[in-house]
């Protein structure tokens, strides 16, 4: 059997190299087919090595073009924010998103919602983010305008040990639940929120599950939290 197999593989790989992929795809036996494909990859690798250098460059230039169109809008918003609230931006560098400081976030949020140029009337998503076990936390807001159909992402870095940020619950009502969820998962406290409690985990859950330094509790209400299944290791 195996000699037949080898022969078949060799034949189909040759055909495939000439551009007829069906030869391999038509092999009914899956094992033989996968072997043939592996052989094909091996054969192609050398041929590709020379060509490969050119393609990434083309891709890169494309990738650079796309964000630039977006950058203009994000930059516009950033400029407007800087003008209205001087010193509110964390970095001048706008790369598809705006990096802000937490202090004036509530006012800035109101401004973004009400300014006729932007009208970000919908808060799409609030994402908590952890840079690492002993680094900063971050909150990322995705805003969207139902009128102008444009979107922006705003990021606010906060200190890990003193994670406080103004709440935007009063600006976008959905902020209520999104912020509770972020609090639940990251322990980021939203100052000014009317009901800053856990939403998904139980009230008495210990720790902030999505932080990178989170460790599972040993026990919860007298129930041992299993780490590894019995007899599975």
């Amino acid at each position: 059997m195996s000699s037949d197999q080898d022969k078949l593989i060799a034949e189909s790989v040759e055909k495939a190299l000439q551009g007829d992929m069906d030869a391999i795809n038509n092999i009914e036996d899956r094992v033989t087919r996968s072997k043939a494909k592996a052989a094909l990859v091996k054969a192609k690798r050398e041929a590709k090595a020379a060509v490969a250098e050119e393609t990434p460059r083309a891709e890169k230039s494309k990738a650079e073009e796309a964000p630039q169109a977006e950058q203009t809008f994000a930059a516009q918003v950033a400029v407007a924010l800087e003008k209205k609230f001087p010193g509110s931006l964390d970095t001048e560098d706008v790369n598809g998103h705006i990096q802000m400081k937490g202090e004036q976030w509530y006012e800035a949020a109101q401004y973004l919602r009400d300014n006729p140029d932007f009208l970000f009337d919908s808060l799409q998503c609030v994402t908590g983010y952890d840079y690492g076990t002993s680094e900063d936390l971050e909150v990322r807001y995705n805003l969207h305008s139902m009128t102008h159909h444009h979107a922006i992402e705003i990021r606010i870095k906060i200190d890990r040990n003193d994670s406080k940020i103004p709440s935007v619950e009063q600006v976008w009502r959905i902020g209520d639940w999104f912020e509770r969820e972020t609090y639940d998962m990251y322990g980021i406290e939203f100052v000014g929120h009317s009901n800053m409690t856990r939403i998904l985990c139980p009230e008495d859950w210990a720790g902030w599950p999505l932080r990178k330094d989170y460790e599972t509790q040993e026990m919860y209400h007298g129930i041992v939290v299993p780490k590894v299944k019995d007899g599975w290791e």
Binding site: M21, N25, E59, A63, D121, S122, L123, Q124, C125, T127, G128, Y129, D130, R140, N142, M146, H149, E153, W172, R173, I174, D176, W177, F178, E181, M185, R198, I199, L200, C201, P202, P209, L210
Partner: protein, 372 residues
């Protein structure tokens, strides 16, 4: 004559209750039959989806996305695959795009059928529920021949789909659509235009567009409030811009714009639009290899992406942060049902006991997606 104010009674609807669509608890303050405050308490179904995702590779996340919105698993897979593909800059073959649209629209029909049927059940009509399940079952049958699974498919992969259509699948879908289209009329006769149903849902639980937008409500619920917003049209992903379809919006035919009946009816019309899309896609489906663009190893470059897709419940978005490893650094799912449920407290104040459950049903929530 003054108004007598008695004490309010606190009532827990759920976590075990016939019409909470899962394990949801509504803490309700009632004055007799009148509801004065509703507070949804969620988290009973929390399965740490986001934490799981930080521990499994990109392709292994797909079965987990199935289990978020288990009613429309195809759309969840679709959203995730599209997001990762955009992050990795993969261009998938034409045929794959068509296959994805066909299965996603079929699943949208299945999901709406469940939503409408369960809504009938919420207001006390049992039979429409079973009729709709009968037809939903046919879609599940189709999916079973396609990928083996009936509910949690793991079908749409990053860069492709797990299998090509089996023999005769296109004809089966055509025959299903031919069978299904007249059934919508039957549902309308039985439930939609039933006067009792209209009395129960028309003018009830009105959600004004400003409230809906501020609460981040999306999908059929937002369109029921008269806002014409559909990501398939306004921010087309995949190949939705190729198809010709309408976005139904609520017009307040049986009451005020944004009432339960509008939300219900938008879903009913949306099924027709889905049929339209599916027919067009079936007609134009090209040939090709569905596994052609499957990446050998999914290792997206460093970066983050926020991508929205239209699931049957609204804007389903994934926020993925990649650190260049084969495991997502952070994956956040923005679930449409989460935002839809948050509006319940606002729009059900002052209605009656029975109305609260009618409003809850009209929001079409899936607790698996809310709690994740």
């Amino acid at each position: 004559m003054g108004v007598v104010h008695g004490d309010l009674m606190t009532l827990n609807i759920g976590p075990q209750h016939p019409s909470t669509h899962g394990v949801l608890r509504l803490k309700v303050k009632t004055d007799g039959e009148i509801i004065s405050e509703v507070e949804p308490i969620i988290g009973y179904l929390h399965r740490c989806f986001e934490k799981h995702c930080e521990n499994v590779s990109y392709e292994q996340v797909i079965p987990y996305t199935d289990r978020c919105d288990y009613i429309a698993a195809m759309n969840n897979n679709f959203g995730y695959a599209v997001t990762v593909e955009e992050l990795m800059e993969i261009k998938v073959p034409e045929r794959v795009e068509y296959i994805r649209v066909i299965v996603a629209e079929l699943n949208r029909i299945a999901s709406h059928l469940l939503a409408l049927g369960a809504y009938g059940l919420d207001v006390g009509a049992f039979t429409p529920f079973l009729y709709m399940f009968r037809d939903r079952e046919r879609i599940l049958d189709l999916f079973e021949t396609l990928c083996g699974a009936r509910l949690l498919y793991n079908y749409i992969w990053v860069g492709g789909v797990s299998h090509d259509f089996p023999k005769g699948f296109v004809e089966s879908v055509y025959s299903f659509l031919d069978y299904f289209e007249p059934k919508i009329e039957e549902y309308n006769e039985l439930l939609t235009y039933n006067k009792i149903f209209i009395e129960r849902t028309g003018d009830v639980g009105v959600m004004p567009p400003e409230v809906a937008v501020s609460y981040g409500v999306t999908g059929p619920n937002l369109r029921g409030s008269g806002v014409k917003w559909d990501i398939r049209k306004d921010e087309p992903y995949s190949i939705y811009e190729k198809f010709d379809f309408d976005i139904p919006v609520g017009v307040g035919e049986m009451g005020t714009v944004g009432d339960c009946w509008d939300r219900y009816y938008v879903r009913m019309v949306e099924m027709k639009e889905s049929i339209k899309i599916t027919r067009q896609a079936l007609k134009g489906i090209p040939t090709g290899d569905v596994h052609q663009a499957l990446p050998k190893k999914i290792r997206p470059p460093q970066g983050s992406i926020y991508k929205r897709t239209e699931s049957p419940r609204g804007d389903l978005a994934y926020y993925i942060v990649s650190d260049g490893s084969p495991i997502p650094y952070r994956l956040k799912m923005r679930s449409p049902a989460f935002t839809a449920l948050s509006v319940l407290g606002e729009i059900s104040q002052g209605w009656m006991m029975s109305d609260v459950l009618a409003i809850l049903g009209s929001l079409d929530i899936v607790l698996g997606e809310i709690d994740r």
